[in-house]
């Protein structure tokens, strides 16, 4: 993969250059391609490291075996490289050896018997060449930075729940919001606001990618809770970031700016003015305390929760995940009964859709953060939460699940255990009629 990926990248660039106006002189085109290829190679560390390793091993083999020596080359794999990647290494090595004048034989007798083992240690791949030449044996080694990554599934197959990868980064991410530019800006261009434990970062969509556009630090006198949580609220060009014991208020224009201060202000569960509903978040823990602010007294009795889901329509549908591990839903205001949602974990959010009742609960799975997770949609009836559609699987725990302002997309942050990265997904529901 290392080789093919790097080569593919170079080939794509070469392909692009070939599309340049054919009126260019052929030699100029060739020169451009050559330069372009070299530039790409120089900028691609994977390819650099790979070529460096191939050249190093080939040089060691040729030095030990002698000029124009015949040799039998065995390449074996003790690493997690795939068969295709091992084949790529073999081909590259054979090519380099031939370039240096070596004559590759299919079987002994030959001047040298060479075994190259593709091994790996804790940090890197390790290529080891054992060169038997006459009575002597030499060993050469080189480390190759490990660059393999798992494939990133980006959408669920024909299921009602869909995920769209919005962003990924190596550091922790608490929440994110896609913030469209105002009407004056060209359509299709948007900005991404990412809440991290120590900063709010802004990225701008440019040419199909996202470019860092600034960040503001979050000052906090106390250490964050070990499982730090945070919530972003974006309203036009202004935003608010809620973190344990801290609230930041800022603007996106003309440049990203914010000021943060100690605050016990409750976090908004629903921010629509007519249905303002908020819950106080513990400044030293990872849950909402039993102090809620809403239109009904009964809300003040709700014990500590990890998550809330509130339908913003008229039905008054509620979902809660409590710190004791229960996931419950309720209908009505006040709701006369609570009903358990079997198998649901600690994250929960509501999602508007065109399916079924028009509002579904999304819940994560039980377990802990050492294993993969899934988001399941539930259709709520009077006394039952029915799982609908297939769960949306992830390669790590869902560490945050917050509704978006529109209610039609839910933002999920996933800590991918395979890549170690934090991934931001927009979760939506598509109906299959």
């Amino acid at each position: 993969m290392l080789l093919s990926r790097a080569r593919d990248r170079v080939n794509k660039q070469m392909g692009a250059s070939r599309r340049i106006d054919r009126s260019f002189l052929a030699c100029l085109l060739f020169l451009l391609i050559l330069i372009w290829s070299n530039v790409c190679a120089a900028q691609n560390p994977d390819l650099d490291q790979f070529d460096r390793a191939v050249k190093y091993i080939a040089e060691k083999i040729c030095t030990a075996a002698g000029d124009h020596a015949s040799m039998v080359l065995e390449v074996r794999n003790l690493s997690t490289l795939s068969a295709a990647e091992v084949g790529g290494v073999r081909r590259a090595l054979e090519g380099e050896l031939r370039n240096r004048g070596a004559r590759l034989a299919a079987a002994l007798p030959a001047d040298a018997d060479v075994r190259v083992t593709l091994s790996e240690n804790l940090q890197d791949d390790l290529w080891v060449a054992e060169i038997h030449h006459g009575d002597s044996q030499q060993t050469a080694m080189i480390t190759v930075p490990r660059a393999r990554q798992s494939a990133q599934p980006n959408t669920a197959p024909a299921l009602t729940l869909q995920k769209q990868l919005v962003w990924q980064q190596t550091g922790p991410m608490l929440d994110f919001r896609v913030a469209p530019f105002g009407a004056a800006q060209p359509g299709g261009v948007n900005r991404l606001l990412v809440l991290e434990p120590e900063r709010v970062a802004l990225y701008q969509s440019i040419a199909g990618g996202r470019q860092f556009a600034g960040a503001v630090q979050i000052q906090h006198a106390q250490p964050w809770p070990r499982d730090t949580r945070g919530l972003l609220v974006v309203d036009g060009e202004r935003f608010q970031a809620f973190l344990p014991g801290i609230k930041c208020s800022g603007t996106l224009q003309p440049a990203l700016s914010a000021s943060c201060q100690q605050s016990g202000e409750p976090w908004p569960i629903i921010s629509e003015p007519a249905k303002m509903f908020a819950a106080a978040f513990s400044p030293r823990r990872n849950y909402f305390e039993n102090q809620t602010y809403g239109p009904a007294d009964w809300m003040k009795q709700i014990p500590a929760t990890y998550a809330w889901a509130v339908e913003s329509g008229d039905t008054q549908l509620w979902g809660f995940t409590f710190v004791d591990g229960r996931a419950l839903f309720a209908l009505g205001n006040p709701p006369p009964h609570l009903h358990e949602i079997s198998g649901a974990g600690s994250e929960m959010a509501g999602l508007k859709s065109d399916c079924g009742s028009g509002w579904q609960l999304l819940g994560t799975k039980t377990g802990d953060w050492t294993v993969g997770d899934a988001i399941q949609a539930y259709e709520i009836s009077v006394d039952q939460a029915m799982a609908v559609g297939q769960p949306l699987e992830f390669d790590g725990p869902v560490t945050a699940l917050w509704p978006s302002a529109s209610g039609q997309v839910t933002n999920a942050v996933v800590h991918n255990l395979k890549t170690g990265k934090y991934e931001a997904y927009g979760i939506s529901i598509t109906c299959i009629h």
Binding site: L126, E130, W298, R326, P336, L338, D368
Partner: protein, 490 residues
């Protein structure tokens, strides 16, 4: 009136605060002071696990063994790699309330590394000040951030108490040397208070007692000897094993006439069937060892053969005349595994025509035997540091490349040189194995066995108090009157 009840805890996913983790050790730890060394490798390992609860290092190693910020938030190195500057994390306090400062760290590091020049200070730029430590060495040292992550570089503050203060996720709340310890959560830990309220440690518990305690729910985390791991798992015990991070090796004594002839050592080394040792003695919990460093760490261990060669052993011994008399092979008499391995070696040696008898040795006893079976602990997940640790334990003098870690070939060469005279014969790499209760969540230790208990939480931990007297008298009935306070017995 709407009512909510706090029932028995159920599986959630987000970490849950509260609860006491009950840990049991076979070893006894008499002091938590990093300055006092535990001679026995097993005792040293137990002590390191406890010290890591209370103390931090300037750097720490991630899962790939690469240094990451800890008490040092960043660092830089001079072009000649002789001077390293570490910026101290702002706002960190010891559990006695004193702020972390260069004045505490610099003298401590100087005391540990006599060849380092360590200075520290505070740089002020307007309203912002930053504390730093500068380490200078006479030769290039590319591994300083890795070295600083090791347990011998834990940052402590010595006050009036018996145990120095640390900056770690827990603080000592009870200490009965060699018997029992309780560690309470450090509410002000710079990385966030741990999820557990406390960790209760019982020391000196035999392996069998630990397993029983786990099975009857008296313990949450216990040690399991590798050779018993398979049986425990078959009985339904939740097991976690590290990558092989211990080494059992055969070490020949110096100055013993019977083994001064290298051919005797080589013959005995060839006779050993490591695969059978792993399969039968260790019940497949381990790997045959050809080198000091396991394959997962070095990537080059496959170059050292682990195959048994009894025929070669017989051939070599047949060249010696007269045949050596019976070799005396010692083992730690408190270690059943060491005894089983020693007896296995004696059987293999007999097949090759070498007479070997075994003898249990007391703690620290090394004299009077021709060879010993020793258990060694990997001191670092950094290959160079790990190899240096083994060499130090075994008294192997190795010439390290002056440029620090050097190339993979340098490391391989050092290892090969140390093995070529058959004074030390690696036998098997062993994992550390632990038994866990089902309540333990987010148990994600490092691959090499280092615990990360600040991240662990307990499923059965009680939820936070719920003010307002919320309870539920009957499932789903939210209008009844049988209210009880949260936590009341039914």
């Amino acid at each position: 009136m709407l009512l909510f009840v706090v029932e028995a805890a159920r599986p959630a996913r987000r970490p849950h605060y509260g609860g006491i983790l009950r840990v049991e050790f076979q070893e006894t730890v008499s002091s938590l002071d990093p300055a006092t060394l535990a001679a026995d490798p097993a005792a040293a390992a137990a002590k390191e696990k406890l010290m890591a609860l209370v103390f931090d290092t300037l750097t720490r190693l991630d899962d790939a063994g690469r240094p990451q910020p800890s008490l040092a938030s960043s660092w830089s190195v001079s072009a000649d790699r002789k001077t390293w500057t570490f910026v101290l994390r702002d706002g960190v306090k010891f559990t006695d309330g004193k702020a972390l400062s260069p004045a505490e760290i610099a003298p401590a590091l100087r005391g540990i590394h006599l060849d380092w020049q360590v200075t520290g200070g505070v740089t002020r730029s307007g309203a912002i000040s930053s504390s730093w430590i500068e380490i200078s060495t006479s030769s290039p040292q590319p591994d300083i951030p890795v070295i600083l992550a090791a347990a011998n570089n834990l940052i402590v503050r010595r006050g009036e108490g018996l145990t120095p203060a640390g900056t770690g996720p827990f603080r000592v709340s009870e200490w009965q040397p060699g018997r029992r310890a309780v560690f309470a959560a450090n509410e002000d830990y710079w990385e966030g208070r741990p999820f557990l309220d406390a960790i209760e440690v019982q020391m000196g518990r035999a392996a069998r007692e630990q397993l029983i305690d786990l099975e009857v729910g008296k313990a949450d985390l216990v040690e399991i000897p590798p050779e018993q791991a398979r049986r425990a798992a078959e009985h339904g015990t939740r097991i976690w094993g590290s990558a092989p991070a211990q080494l059992l090796a055969l070490v020949f004594s110096s100055g013993r006439p019977l083994v001064e002839d290298q051919r005797v050592r080589e013959s005995l080394a060839n006779s050993i069937d490591r695969t059978a040792m792993v399969n039968f003695v260790l019940q497949k919990e381990g790997e045959p060892a050809g080198g000091f460093l396991p394959q997962w760490l070095s990537g080059h261990e496959f170059l050292f053969s682990t195959a048994a060669g009894p025929a070669r052993g017989r051939e070599i011994i047949s060249q010696i005349s007269p045949l050596p008399s019976t070799l005396l092979l010692g083992y730690d008499s408190s270690g059943p595994l060491e005894q089983a391995v020693a007896e296995r070696i004696a059987v293999n040696a007999g097949d090759a025509g070498i007479r070997v008898s075994t003898k249990g040795l007391g703690a620290g006893q090394t004299a009077g035997v021709d060879a010993r079976v020793v258990r060694l602990r990997m001191v670092s997940p950094d290959p160079r540091e790990a190899l240096a640790g083994y060499f130090s334990s075994l008294g192997v003098a190795a010439a390290w490349p002056s440029a620090g870690a050097g190339t993979p070939e340098d490391l391989y060469e050092r290892e090969r040189e140390a093995l070529e005279n058959y004074r030390i014969v690696p036998l098997v790499h062993l994992p550390e194995v632990f038994g866990l209760s089902s309540q333990v969540k987010d148990w994600v230790p490092a691959r090499w066995g280092e615990w990360r208990l600040a991240d662990v939480w307990l499923e059965a931990a009680a939820g936070p108090p719920t003010a307002g007297g919320l309870s539920r008298p009957h499932p789903n009935d939210m209008t009844g009157s049988q209210e009880r306070m949260a936590g009341e017995k039914r």
